[in-house]
Amino acid sequence: MSEPTHATTNETTKETTKETIKYDDVIVRRFLAATLFWGAVGMLVGLWIALQLATPRLNFAPYFTFGRLRPLHTNAVIFAFAGNAIFAAVYYSSQRLLKARPLAMLSKIHFWGWQAIITAAAITLPLGFTQAKEYAELEWPIDLAILVVWVTFAVNFFAMVRNRREKHLYVALWFYIASIITVAILHIFNNLVIPAGLFKSYSIYAGVQDALMQWWYGHNAVAFILTTPFLGLMYYFLPKAAERPIFSYRLSILHFWSLVFIYIWAGPHHLHYTALPQWASTLGMVFSVMLWMPSWGGMINGLLTLRGAWNRVAEDPVLKFFVVGITFYGMATFEGPLLSVKSVNALSHYTDWNIAHVHGGTLGWVGFMVFGMTYWLVPRLYQTKLYSKKLATLHFWTATVGIVIYVVAMWAAGITQGLMWRAFDDVGRLQYPDFLETVTRLVPMYWLRAFGGALYITGLGIGIYNIIRTWQTRPAVYAEPEVSVPPMIRAAKVAEHQRVLERAAEAKIHWHRRWEGMPALFTVLVTVAVVVASLFEILPAFLIGTNVPTIKSVKPYTPLELYGRDIYIREGCYNCHSQMLRPFIDETVRYGMNGQPAEYSKPGEFVYDHPFQWGSKRTGPDLAREGGRRDELWLLRHFNDPRSTSPGSVMPSYPHLLTDSIPWDVIPTRVHVMHMLGVPYDATALDHADSLAHDQAGTLAAKLETEGGPTGMGDKDVIALIAYMQRLGHDIQLSMHVGGGS
């Protein structure tokens, strides 16, 4: 775009040198089909694990337990469903906004590479290969593949930007650029690990610092995968569907810069009242509350785009999906800041309220924006009429009712859970001292949630049927969309472009406009905004020693405990159990022992925890002070069949732990890798890790037998897991000596 005064000159140039290009919609069709396929897979896995919580008989160990399937669900819906949808949106809209075609070979590598990554995730996660960091579970070889494919995508996108015929970068493209850059940064820094095998690694960060990195990543994955690309999608597809421009372009600029600047700071709100230093937690809360304003600016901008077109919403399923999707964006971005307020978070954290919040955002905002876009794209991509508008409307209503049931059930479950945990009776005792009471109370709500989810998936099924029927009426050969475009800006001489910019500068054209004409500078500025904000939060946490005071009684795990910890990670126990006692009286009392309240968790306890295992949800009780609370036989029976020790428990059974043998040969490697990461193992541990592990296993197995347990457990996985469980909180029960940071 240029100033009106220059338009005539440019127009003349354009008319004399017009070219035609063909848009590549093959890649869009592929990504859209993958979106629907993986969406169905990811959501069906979600329904399955929802049912597992209502009835644990649906767990089939070892591969199909809740702990292993839940990461598969989250990864599938985030990276496969939302990811493929983002790519479809980016390739469709960017070609048209930039008037440039992507590079065919890179598009192919991008598409097939991404599908291979998703397939690898679908295989490795049920096998128990995991880094145990939420939404970053995939092990290092897959992480490397993600990096390669993401860079391929970035190169393909920026090649379109470079070869564009439209000087101005429309606001949707800014959101795409911010997403591409930030996701790369987040992915690289959160996944820095040292491999300890082909599918086993340890995070280079430990404890508090690992937690900060993880939730810097986790929160911003929500921001830059589930929010900003979909805002780009909204800014492009909503005006197209409404056939009117976005309500306020000015507001979109404010929306973009505020969001990019603020979002990156908000991660620590996932760690309120944990061992994270309070300054970081408060900073996260303040920025989260600030985030409400730009988010609602975006929502208002979206909804007001429909001014004068509201009558069409009643009859157009595309607009219906968009309106409700944007409304869910508003609801989720109100609820997010609310949950980040410490006093609210004290109640909500670790409960199903978070699950309600997340699904309001993903099913409502992400899902509905994807469906709106899909119904708008399908007739254009398949060059035919939509098979049935009625079915699309049915899809909309089924899914809407499904979300409402889902979210209300989880709100009720979360608030019930939070209130029960903290309830005291008249004489000051916990009203529900048995954690199981707070679990069994929720089971009816888990059934209701599964029903709501099933409705949503039914809606998706209707949608897929409708699209398949539409696809069946496609032409034998697709016509390639061809447009007449001005010459490539690069080809139309950099000098000419420079002259335009100079004239713009002389005419005091807005500085932002000039940045937009200079994508490289624009990209650098976005990167600076993201990196500076990240460093402000991360560097002090890593480099100011007083953030993590050392506790002298805290020692490294023994080789057997380390392997037991790896089993805890492999089985995904962190999906349901936290290891973080918050400084609340109800928590210290609940998890105390022998009538004494427990110590709340301290930063120095976790200095050898690569990765941290604080968890984000308590479907089961916290385990930070579990060591010594039960004897070995109780633990063995609990792992074998949780309902034999805890009637009503929804935990899966792990009978394979009693039959699978410990692979002793991997233990020395793992101890050495931990040592490389700075864990102070002495020469004995380094040189004789396996024999130390054997000795401890033998001692524990003998103890198990004296307790009346089975024989022959000394070389089974269960003994290592028992060793780890008995270690939890053990060091902090010793006298504490707090020294300066070291």
């Binding site: 775009m1 008037k99 949707a172 009117r244 303040v286 254009r380 969309p481 447009v483 932002h512 100011i544």
Partner: protein
Amino acid sequence: MIRLSELVSAFTPTEYAELALILFVAVFAAVMFRHGGKRRAAEHELCARLPLDDGDQ
């Protein structure tokens, strides 16, 4: 030569938080100053129409 940890430790975490807020307010004010008024209305109007003029149906 001063170490990075010494440099970072020269400020308290609270000061980092305050600086962050000041930075945000400055960026926000700058964007508002440039885009808040009506003088860019025509330009914004033009930009807003880009998806509608992209040659697609």
